[in-house]
């Protein structure tokens, strides 16, 4: 992305037919810390990497409960994400009050997308700088949607957004065909493993990640740290046993490709300690 004469205003087209401000907004999403989502037929799991300003501060809240049957994970400008979550909660509660029935996720997502589109077509506004992974349940089953600042939305079986999300995406691409039939616990495990991919070698602890689940008979809720740490422990020990066996051959090829992918993604910082660019 280079500065050019068509990027000052969101209402200015470039000769190539692009709206640069919108694309810059999507860059903001790529700079935020990772969030992933995956779904089976009956459950959806959201996970995110916790980001703290400094060692002294608490981490930012990136997963929001919107209703009993809908939750959202954000990546990008957290303030924008908070405002949009409030909008979603409002819509859900109004629908619930009028119809005594949960708002279908698909409709909420379209309303969100229309709201984002407005900001791409007014000269006095700017696009929301946040990508939203909306997880929800309705009559037709479990759904995972991604809403981007451009006002587009897509439905996914599994997706990852934010910095170093390519590693998670690669992991998910390998496994996604099995997700439909997965049990809830397997889905949570897969989510944590996908998060581990984005950490690139940093030790996986429950304080670094947040996991939330919604499913049939299970309202949306964030798993507490103890539960998450237990799940991490179960497969950390399993991984240690597996390591010498077959993992290296399959893994190194993938990891090399993944590392190249992430290096191109955000300018090559593989140094875990710094990361000042992440929002």
């Amino acid at each position: 992305m280079f500065r050019n004469q068509y990027d000052t205003d969101v209402t200015t087209w470039s000769p190539a037919g692009r709206l640069f401000q919108v694309e810059y907004a999507m860059e903001a999403v790529k700079q935020g810390s990772a969030a992933i989502g995956l779904r089976s037929k009956t459950h959806v799991v959201l996970g995110c990497v916790n980001k703290a300003n400094s060692e002294l501060s608490s981490h930012q809240k990136k997963i929001f409960e919107v209703d009993d049957h809908i939750g959202v994970a954000i990546a990008g400008l957290t303030a924008d994400g908070r405002v949009l979550s409030r909008y979603m909660r409002n819509e859900c509660i109004n629908y619930s009050f009028t119809y005594e029935s949960p708002l279908p996720v698909g409709r909420l997502v379209v309303q969100l997308a229309d709201k984002a589109q407005v900001c791409t077509q007014r000269s006095w506004k700017r696009p929301y700088g946040v990508g939203l992974l909306v997880a929800g349940l309705d009559e037709s089953g479990a759904h995972l949607y991604y809403n981007c600042p451009s006002g587009n939305y897509f439905e996914y079986q599994a997706f990852a957004i934010g910095s170093r999300s390519q590693a998670a995406k690669t992991y998910l691409e390998r496994r996604f065909e099995n997700f439909t039939g997965s049990s809830r616990d397997d889905l949570v495990k897969d989510a944590i493993m996908a998060i581990r991919e984005t950490l690139q070698g940093e030790t996986l602890k429950s304080s670094i990640c947040t996991i939330a689940v919604v499913g049939a008979g299970e309202p949306f809720h964030v798993l507490d740290q103890g539960t998450v740490q237990q799940i991490i422990d179960t497969f950390e020990t399993a991984a240690e046993q597996e390591d010498p066996a077959t993992e290296p051959d399959a893994a190194t090829g993938q990891e090399a490709a993944a590392e190249q992918g992430t290096a191109a993604d955000h300018g090559g910082s593989t140094d875990e300690g710094a990361a000042p660019m992440d929002i």
């Binding site: 029935s101 279908p104 698909g106 379209v110 009559e139």
Partner: protein
């Protein structure tokens, strides 16, 4: 607004004639006894035009129903709903007239049936609201649809809000439907009272039909038994309700959709000996 009135002390009720020059029409209102006394004090108060109870704004809100339908009776049977209502629309006034082909039950969307008693024009207004609701619901085109529970609660909100503005939709509604195998039957009154039950009725039906239903309704009625039970209720209503008309429709809601049958009449029996010879037990009286 120029108001003049004259009082005719002709038995009860009192007649008061308003000459409203602002709108230039004459309208005769029938008021309950002694109401004119209240009105005199009320007029002397010189209330602002927009006051909630001001006379000018009275013409903007519902005060009385004019063309009304009588009871609607409905019950659940097996996996479906049955509803019955007659086809009468009665005008109250010096001349008692009736419309005899008023359809007081209408399907709503794919899953529900709405029956109404009370003011027919308000029922038509409600149908307009619901048409718009269903239209927007269909326009989403996403596999989700509003079921009977959602429509029932939407209606409750509408009725309650209108009541709060002192401008009610003068109806008692019965909403029944089946969605995803679940049957639903509920009612909303003109003041927003709503509840669900296995069998409901409006108006006179509450007093005449519900006792029969409480005795004889059970969980696994067949279609024929359900219809017989409804006919029994409607027959009692026909005998005892002055507003009833002997032309009724039965409607059935199943998972597949709504069927409103052709109207028909009930057989009645009037050969009671007291009808044939009313003076039998009271010689010399009239």
């Amino acid at each position: 607004m120029n108001v003049s009135f004259s009082l005719n002390y002709l038995q009860k009720p009192f007649f008061i004639i308003f000459n409203v020059t602002h709108f230039s029409f004459n309208q005769t209102f029938t008021l309950p006894p002694f109401f004119h006394l209240f009105l005199v004090r009320f007029m002397a108060l010189k209330l602002p035009q927009n006051s909630l109870l001001g006379s000018q704004s009275d013409s903007q809100r519902t005060l009385y129903p004019y063309v009304t339908g009588t009871s609607v009776v409905a019950l659940k049977y097996k996996d479906r709903i049955l509803m019955a209502a007659d086809m009468g629309g009665k005008i109250d006034g010096p001349v008692h007239m009736r419309y005899k082909s008023v359809e007081r039950m209408k399907p709503i969307g794919k899953h529900s049936l709405l029956g109404a008693s009370g003011e027919i024009s308000d029922f038509q207004e409600i149908l307009r609201y619901l048409n718009e609701l269903i239209l927007y619901d269909n326009m989403w085109d996403d596999g989700n649809s509003l079921g009977p529970k959602e429509v029932h609660n939407y209606l409750t909100r509408v009725m309650y809000n209108r009541r709060n503005k002192f401008n009610p939709l003068w109806n008692s509604l019965v909403l029944g439907g089946v969605k995803n195998g679940n049957k639903y039957l509920g009612t909303v009154s003109m003041i927003g009272v709503n509840f669900k039950d296995n069998h409901v009725a409006t108006g006179f039906g509450n007093h005449l039909a519900q006792p029969i239903l409480r005795q004889e309704w059970h969980e696994n009625l067949s279609f024929e038994d359900g219809v017989k039970l409804l006919e029994k209720c409607m027959r009692v209503l026909l005998y005892c309700d002055r507003s009833a008309v002997n032309k009724l429709q039965i409607a059935k809601i199943t998972e597949e959709g709504v069927t409103i049958h052709q109207p028909y009449s009930l057989k009645t029996y009037w050969e009671f000996s007291t009808f044939e010879n009313p003076a039998q037990g009271a010689i010399g009286s009239w």
